[in-house]
């Protein structure tokens, strides 16, 4: 089958690749671009482990065809930190021990970033419902929800005091 030509932007870098027309965005991120931080937990959009941002919007990379990425800006977990300077959310996940095995963590951080980009001061209920598309089997979500709330507070503080 003829390969499809995709021109897109991933983590602020221009990317060009050839892929099978049936390949998902997750397939090409992992297998073509070596961006293994997005995980496949289900392949059906139920677990959120492959959460990425597409033009700032939260999507499951397993439900997006790679061909659909053409002309869009994709942000993966690898694009959340500024070089080796962790994003506040990443730092807070570490400080609050909001991960155990860590397989769901990239998805949660990407999803939480999408939330805080829209709503810098979410309630606990808003955090819980926004993250309802991300499954974690280790933590019971308690420390994840706290980390997101704490990161939001720090980011609001940073926004005020620069």
């Amino acid at each position: 089958m003829a390969k499809h030509h995709v021109t897109t932007t991933v983590n602020r870098e221009p990317v060009e690749l050839l892929c099978d027309p049936s390949a998902t965005l997750l397939d090409v991120l992992r297998d073509e671009l070596g961006l293994i931080g997005s995980k496949e937990g289900c392949g059906s959009g139920d677990c959120g482990a492959c959460s990425v941002l597409m033009d700032g919007r939260l999507v499951c990379a397993c439900l997006v065809l790679a061909a659909e990425a053409t002309g869009h800006e994709i942000t993966t977990i690898e694009g959340i930190a500024d070089g080796n300077k962790l994003h506040t959310l990443q730092q807070q996940f570490l400080e609050d021990a909001a991960l155990q095995c860590g397989i769901c963590t990239p998805g949660f951080i990407v999803a939480a970033k999408a939330l805080l980009d829209r709503n810098p001061d979410p309630t606990e209920t808003e955090v819980r419902f926004w993250l309802a598309g991300n499954l974690c089997r280790c933590t019971g979500y308690d420390k994840i929800v706290r980390a997101v709330m704490n990161a939001a507070a720090k980011m609001r503080e940073e926004a005020v005091h620069g």
Partner: protein, 768 residues
């Protein structure tokens, strides 16, 4: 090494620790929040092929023939494996790591031979140059099945006329032994005292049957493996599992190879909960790599995970509990019937051993039945077998409290096991902290908080043995005085952090200079797998011993540098101090870095290497309080407040200990309210994805409050008890008791899904 004496000294000293009990950032954290951590499916080798498995669509079928010719002829297909490629193993119970293992069953479960025994049973596998070609080839493999009658449920499988899965399965534990094959693999009994006398002396008897459904461990990372076979036959395996040494041993057994020809490198593991304590894909990947001469990667889909791995048993548990009018327990009896899945080996016996173990019960008996049916072979799931038995016992206790008009917490306090209490499985408890968890529950504001309409509160307790076993650790001092700690246990929930903390504590050094690593099977001596709540206890003990050996060596080296004897050297706060006072000799303390720097001149590199078989694991007890609100219109139940209390011995890194309690509690909530394996009339699993197999999500839950009770385990240098398993034991009954109080009906069948609860509410209304 004098473990016990050392342990007692450290525990009894009540010293202030520098690192133990603190909450530093985990050493592997940065890679896990940036997406750099390498899990099983992330391994990528040059020339790697993709392997996929062909699975039975039938619950029970004879495999007449498998025709692979069309698939083999497809360009890009480089290897095909069927059951004929693996050696036939004897049908015998071999010594396994923790429990005896029948490797013939493990082999047949990895790939079917004469019969497919469940929907999803692996029948063949193919490796190809692309995933597309692999799937095309899989579709070309023609399996000719003779479909046989099947049986799914445990009571049906025990019936006289049930379809029999294994024509050579004779029930073990019956006298005289049956002459006819059946699905009943075995019967085990535990007993103490005289239950008939006990029930005769009881004023009140509660007797009921309880059922639970098969539930999956639900790890988010599907099973994944990469295998590579060199031209000289040496095998390399990279995979996520709960034990690289387990994978090595199981593959060697299943493939008829020497252990020394296999090296297994552990990838990061994306959750296991007991479900990754066996092999599924690994032996198939090795055969495909042997046949193709190329590395092969195999990754399960979620549907494959659900159909062919795990789950834990669905159960039928009959409980009879007798007590005096004042609430004193007199007699207890349990009959446990557990689904094993397609091959023998359910944790029924563990249910029998644990169910009553929270209590002083002078007369007790547990009869445990292990039953096969056309389901995937069950795997360990967090405190295997205990939650289902506990659900029955803790529900019966709640009902007993209602019958006697007693507070259910007071009733538990009255009968709580303590030091010296006899267990149904033999030993008496040493120092345990169950009473302390109950007292903490009583003192917790949650226990006395008011409830609103349609709300109910439940309480339940749980027990798990915790285990020790073989563990190895190496502590290497680097040239600059930093330290590497190498162990052989995959870090499934933060154990690198606790290994580093314990090493830094013993060495008295800066934690940031301790780097914990997990070795492959060639880099560290044998360690039993990550499971049984053993790693922080047993591997932690090996780390402490290795670090103590390093301290001994450091004192010797300092003595050499000072030209004194090691007895003249004291090790404190990461430095050597000379205690010998000599006229005119000022001996400034020598730091770890200074000794390390000069190590070549004092005898060479400094390294402590310890292998132990850790004994003295301290049993764990937990008590959970759960509030629910039930919507009487829909039968939907919402957990609105939850508190998990546990004796953890000593929390090395309290955040990750709390995390164990929270995660276990939520898995138990899912088990109680939502999760279940659903089969259709043809024996095909209907809910193979996370949409239909509904695990708890963030919006279903409140915060999970935790209370860490610390009754140090005298068997560990810092008092550690295993903590991972206990927290999944109490929630089933804690939730069910809460629902029962909210609706005024006793719920005895899990999950308490909305339709089931609504039917119960409507049924009670109709009955008036």
């Amino acid at each position: 090494m004098g473990n016990e004496q050392d342990a007692l000294n450290l525990v009894n000293e009540q010293v202030e620790y520098k690192w133990v009990g603190t909450r530093p950032i985990r050493p592997d954290g940065a890679d896990k929040v940036t997406g750099r951590a390498t899990f099983g499916a992330d391994i990528d080798l040059p020339g790697m092929l993709t392997g996929v498995v062909i699975r039975s669509p039938h619950a029970h079928a004879r495999i007449i023939s498998i025709d692979t010719s069309a698939a083999a002829a497809l360009p890009g297909v480089l290897g095909i494996v069927t059951g004929a490629d693996l050696p036939e193993l004897p049908n015998e119970i071999a010594a396994g790591g923790e429990a005896p293992i029948n490797f013939r069953s493990v082999s047949e479960n990895a790939i079917a031979r004469r019969k497919a025994l469940y929907d999803g049973h692996a029948v063949a596998a193919v490796a190809a140059t692309s995933v597309e070609i692999a799937h095309e080839a899989a579709a070309l493999i023609k399996v000719n099945y003779e479909v046989l009658p099947h049986v799914i449920n445990v009571l049906d499988a025990m019936a006289e006329d049930a379809p029999v899965l294994h024509d050579d399965l004779i029930t073990k534990g019956l006298e005289p032994a049956p002459t006819k094959a059946s699905n009943i693999a075995g019967k085990v009994e535990f007993a103490m005292g005289d239950i008939e006398k006990g029930f005769a002396e009881s004023d009140v008897i509660i007797e009921r049957s309880y059922t639970t459904e098969a539930v999956h461990q639900g790890y988010i990372e599907p099973h994944a493996v990469v295998a590579s076979v060199a031209a000289d036959g040496m095998v390399n395996i990279w995979c996520s599992s709960q034990g690289q040494f387990m994978v090595r041993e199981f593959c060697a057994k299943l493939l008829g190879m020497d252990i020394g020809r296999i090296r297994v490198t552990p990838a990061e593991i994306g959750g296991g909960f007991g479900g990754k304590t066996t092999v599924y894909l690994e032996p198939l990947a090795v055969v495909l790599a042997q046949k193709s001469g190329r590395p092969v990667r195999m990754v399960m889909t979620r549907g494959e995970v659900m159909r062919a791995t795990g789950p834990t048993s669905g159960t039928h548990v009959h409980v009879k509990l007798g007590a005096k009018r004042d609430g004193t327990f007199v007699a207890g009896e349990m009959v446990l019937k557990y689904q094993a899945g397609a091959y023998p080996g359910s944790p029924a016996f563990l249910g029998g051993m644990t169910g009553f173990s929270c209590y002083e019960l002078p007369n007790a008996k547990a009869v445990c039945w292990d039953v096969v049916s056309n389901r995937p072979k069950c795997a360990a799931y967090r405190a295997p077998g205990a939650p289902m038995a506990s659900f029955g016992v803790e529900s019966a206790i709640d009902e007993l409290a209602q019958t006697l008009g007693m507070d259910p917490l007071e009733l538990r306090l009255k009968n709580a096991a303590k030091e010296g209490t006899a267990t149904i499985y033999g030993p008496k408890f040493l120092k345990i902290g169950y009473l302390e968890t109950l007292l903490a529950a009583k003192a917790h504001p949650h226990w006395s908080a008011p409830l609103g309409p349609n709300q109910g509160r439940g309480i339940a307790s749980g027990f798990w043995f915790n285990v020790g076993g073989p563990s190895s650790a190496s502590v290497h001092v680097n040239e600059d005085g930093s330290v590497s700690v190498v162990t052989g246990n995959p870090d499934i929930g933060g154990s690198r952090a606790s290994m580093a903390i314990m090493a830094a504590e013993v060495l008295g050094m800066d934690l940031s200079k301790v780097k914990p690593l997990i070795g492959d099977t060639g880099q560290i001596a044998y360690s039993f797998l990550t499971g049984g709540s053993r790693v922080t206890f047993a591997t932690g003990m090996a780390v402490c011993d290795a670090a103590k050996d390093v301290v001994r060596q450091l004192r010797t080296r300092a003595a050499k540098m000072w030209k004194v004897t090691p007895e003249d050297v004291e090790w404190r706060d990461g430095s050597a101090f000379c205690t010998k006072v000599e006229e005119g000799k000022e001996r400034a303390p020598l730091t770890l870095a200074a000794i390390a720097h000069g190590a070549a001149r004092t005898g060479g590199p400094i390294s402590g290497n310890v292998s132990i078989n850790a004994a003295g694991a301290g049993p764990g007890f937990g008590t959970h309080i759960c509030d629910v609100e039930v919507d009487p219109e829909t039968g939907a139940t919402r957990v609105i407040r939850y508190t998990a209390i546990q004796d953890v011995g000593r929390a090395i890194h309290p955040s990750y200990v709390e995390g164990q309690l929270q995660g276990g509690a939520v898995q138990g909530i899912g088990w109680a309210l939502n999760e279940e394996y659903v089969y259709d009339a043809n024996g095909r699993l209907q809910n193979t994805g996370f949409l239909d197999y509904r695990m708890p999500v963030a919006s279903d839950l409140p915060m999970i409050d935790t209370v860490l009770v610390e009754v140090p385990n005298p068997g560990h240098p810092y008092g550690v008890r295993g903590v991972g398993e206990v927290p999944i034991v109490p929630p089933l009954a804690a939730v069910a008791n809460a629902v029962s109080h909210a609706v005024g009906l006793r719920l005895t069948s899990l999950p308490i899904s909305p339709p089931k609860l609504l039917a119960a509410i409507d049924g009670a209304k109709a009955a008036g």
